[in-house]
Symmetry: C2
């Protein structure tokens, strides 16, 4: 079982975007630069998160990405499902119905006990991730570590964020 | 996130093997036939389970596989880890240390908060699977469904199991 590298990158992108000002947006290329990854690769995940309404994608030369909701309303589960898809990791191929002399169909109305148990474990996994928001990950802004993280991202955002000037 | 098809097959193989008599063994080809899969594909998983001491592999013309321990001592977690490997699904590539002006090393002694949260969720998943044994999955042998399952496997084992005659 393996999660794609995109999950780590997507969560860290949301963390960085949570530092933007109200009118700010960050281009994909800047998000890629900050995380040391290729823009082309990251774009797929940014678009998936925009499709899941976690991010807003602002088109145009002053465009970029910003959060679609406050950090305390974005859970790790929402990001993981946006990037990895929402299908369960365990997929029952109904092998109990293959092979010689399978049981009559009436015995297969309920899911196989193996599938039920595997999905129960996945529910526990998802419940845990649904309980953790981006704001939780940010934690207490006054610790030395979080101060250092915020200072680093603040300098970067100051250089790269684009401010929307749609107001007349 | 996706688990390989091997997990479903491996768990069902252990379920079938749990019906063997004390001196019995079942060849890989019979396990494959019962589950409608290719022997060559299944062998990899059977060997992984033998390596993890869940199964015993008995060599020779009357050989095959049998359980290495009672069904109530084989958890779903042990099977999943044997087949899929024990590495966590989330693998932190330390992207916090990439990009411009990374923080000094002393800030990276502790794991990143994102990685910690993702691994906490995996612990919940594994704890759930560690709590379910093959005996739990078999459940109550007197239900109509379990009677039908046991009868089907009993007929098949009667035809294909090999009895060890090493005694003198
Ligand atoms: S038939 Fe799919 S898990 Fe049992
Ligand atoms: S650096 Fe890997 S999860 Fe944060």
């Amino acid at each position: 079982m393996k999660l794609g590298d995109g999950v780590e990158q997507a969560i860290h992108c949301v963390l960085l975007l949570s530092g933007l000002g109200a009118d700010g947006a960050l281009p994909a290329a800047a998000l890629a630069e900050y995380h040391g990854v290729k823009t082309s690769y990251l774009l797929k995940h940014l678009q998936a998160m925009a499709g899941a309404r976690l991010l807003v994608s602002i088109p145009g030369p002053r465009g970029g990405y910003r959060l679609a909701r406050p950090a305390q309303e974005i859970t790790l589960l929402a990001i993981v499902l946006a990037v990895e898809g929402s299908a369960p990791a365990f997929r029952c191929a109904e092998i109990r119905q293959r092979g010689p002399e399978p049981l009559p169909a009436q015995f297969h109305r309920l899911p196989c006990g193996v599938a039920s148990a595997m999905l129960r474990a996945e529910r526990a996994y998802r419940a845990e991730l649904a309980n953790i928001t981006i704001a939780d990950i940010q934690g207490d802004p006054s610790t030395p570590l979080n101060q250092a993280i915020n200072q680093r991202s603040c300098v970067f955002l100051g250089l790269h964020q684009r401010v929307q000037t749609e107001r007349t």
